[in-house]
């Protein structure tokens, strides 16, 4: 199966008053058709920077992005616009991502009006279809965002993201801002839409349980780099990178009988202004040895997956 999205050696530096922050370093991955790839990590790991540079919402400093076989960065004008229709995003917070002064029919209809010039009755009909696809009835067309609950708003944001029939949808923490009891509704909707429309997802999340429930493959990021990648079952059942292990162990189980007395990970993230010379995780890692502090470990194959570690777990 060919890759829909190919990212190679993506690099992004932010220049700040206090110095340069290397937010994303040499990140490479593919998203294939009809597949869900998750990018997980804690705040500051660079996962959102990756998403935003894919959409050209920020400019990256190095690397290549190919989308549907075309060099996405070099496209200009019409060709770029056409390709961009195939790539869309759902943001985390449906309270801030929907314009409070627009009616639902305009929020969902705007992309079609802008891209295809759809107007009038035809536009309303298309919006009605989009809303129906996410489980909202036509009675909502003339309403404003404040009349909806968080879960409904996220459905509206999804309807808008799907308006131009994209092939790849970036989901940036799509359930993090929702009430616990409605998160499952949105996850199930995303799963159903994927099946029905043959969508690919790039899921950005810090919530490992969410990732496990909808992703096929996972990329674990730490401090701007991918430290482990593989299928979700491989990586979650048998992590090789000590950071992945620590991340999994930090999630409290809902079952009180599984109150492992696991030692929480010690220490904090290093300062991005003064990155450690070798592996960025070494200062917090129980397995760190001399070589770890010399230079960053490259991402290497371990069986069917990859990990960036000189002393990986398991065998």
């Amino acid at each position: 199966m060919s890759a829909l999205l190919e990212v190679r050696d993506l690099d992004k530096r932010y220049r700040t008053r206090h110095g340069v922050i290397h937010a994303v370093q040499g990140v490479s991955f593919d998203v294939r058709e009809k597949e869900t790839v998750a990018l997980v990590g804690e705040s500051g790991c660079g996962k959102s920077t990756v998403a935003l540079s894919l959409l050209h919402l920020i400019e990256h400093d190095g690397g290549r992005v190919r989308f549907e076989g075309a060099e996405f960065d070099q496209l200009k004008g019409r060709r770029e616009q056409e390709l961009r229709r195939d790539l869309s995003i759902v943001f985390q917070n449906p309270y801030s991502s929907l314009n409070p002064r627009m009616r639902i029919k305009d929020i969902v209809g705007e992309p079609m009006r802008t891209a295809y010039g759809t107007r009038g009755r035809e536009l309303v009909e298309r919006v009605r279809e989009q809303l129906e696809a996410v489980g909202l009835g036509p009675e909502h067309l003339r309403r404003f965002p404040h009349e909806f609950s968080g879960g409904q708003r996220q459905r509206i944001a999804i309807a808008r993201a799907l308006a131009l029939e994209p092939k790849l949808l970036i989901l940036d923490e799509p359930t993090a801002a929702l009430d616990v009891s409605v998160q499952a509704q949105v996850l199930n909707l995303l799963r159903e839409l994927q099946r029905r429309l043959g969508l690919s997802y790039l899921l950005i999340s810090h919530n490992l349980a969410t990732v496990e429930s909808i992703a096929d493959r996972v990329l674990v990021m730490y401090f701007g780099r991918i430290v482990e990648s593989g299928t979700v079952s491989e990586v979650f059942n048998d992590p090789r990178h000590p950071y992945t292990r620590a991340l999994l162990d930090s999630v409290p189980s809902i079952d009180p009988s599984q109150r492992h007395r696991l030692k929480p990970l010690e220490g904090d993230l290093p300062s991005p202004l003064r990155p450690p010379p070798g592996c960025a995780f070494a200062p917090r890692c129980a397995r760190a040895a001399h070589d770890c502090t010399a230079r960053p470990p490259p991402l290497g194959s371990i069986g069917s997956r990859e990990a960036a570690c000189y002393h990986p777990l398991g065998g």
């Binding site: 804690e42 705040s43 609950s149 968080g150 879960g151 409904q152 009430d179 616990v180 009891s181 409605v182 998160q183 499952a184 509704q185 996850l187 199930n188 810090h206 919530n207 490992l208 349980a209 969410t210 496990e212 429930s213 979700v232 079952s233 979650f236 620590a246 991340l247 999994l248 162990d249 930090s250 999630v251 409290p252 189980s253 809902i254 079952d255 009180p256 009988s257 599984q258 109150r259 696991l262 929480p264 990970l265 010690e266 904090d268 993230l269």
Partner: protein, 328 residues
Amino acid sequence: MALLSVRGLELHFVTPAGRVRAVNGISYTVEAGELVAIVGESGSGKTVQAQAVLGLVAQPPGEIVGGAVEFDGVELLSLPEERMRTLRGRRISMVFQEPMTSLNPVLSIGRQLTEAMRLHLQLTRAVADERAVSLLGMVGIADPERRLRQYPHHLSGGMRQRVMIAIAIACDPLLIVADEPTTALDVTIQAQILALMQDLTRRLGVALVIITHDLGVVARYADRVNVMYAGRIVEHGAARDVYRRPAHPYTIGLLNSVPRLDRPRGVRIEPIPGSPPDPAHLQPGCAFAPRCPYVVDRCRREEPPTVTFDDRHVATCWQTAALRPESG
């Protein structure tokens, strides 16, 4: 006798849009040295009930309509503001969700840490400074002397929350109320902070009330749990009982709707349909009825009864007996 006992607490807010019944007659207790969780979604009343207990709800717009709160033998709802304030600094402390906003950005860590000790314990500056150093050590902050001279923006989110915890234990309280103490933090840091809070409160014999939306936090750390929905406690019991044999349809639904790492992959999550009710427009009967798969006619008309069964496990539901046929 319980350290904290809340009985029939009822709190309304009078707004231009009408009367919002935020807390509808909740009762719970906290024993000395115990870790009790209050779990619920946004709008369930979990935070505002704690604010009412601590005398932090402005009246108006708030209005405590009924109930009683007793702490360490003192009735709190009728306590004069000045005495309440002393109690809050000295015997009850609080840890809030946002360590970024709950510390004062223009005061040094040392100043914020010693302020309460000097006021409530009448410590001299030198003695308070000394105690501040040892408190920072207790919460796992390295190089405490230097940290005392720093300001909040010098610290990471996790460290700020450690400072908040140091402030909370500074005056030897009997009770700490922590409102979503780790929600704003990254997962690896969350685990550190929760372990620290559990360890410290156990060691110092302080009771801890954790208010959270996260069932995992409840299960891993709490002795007992109160599940709130639409301003009521709908289920209460020992954490392991509530998890193993949930008795209220809302709790059952929550446990089935959360994606979990501790289950085999591919187990389909079952969402609870609909969304939580608007507390300004509560319908008669059970507030969960519109979303409940076990609903019967009666649920929509009459307030559900509080059913007690084995070992202090309580649910407020018409259908609990049918759901748990083995219980009395």
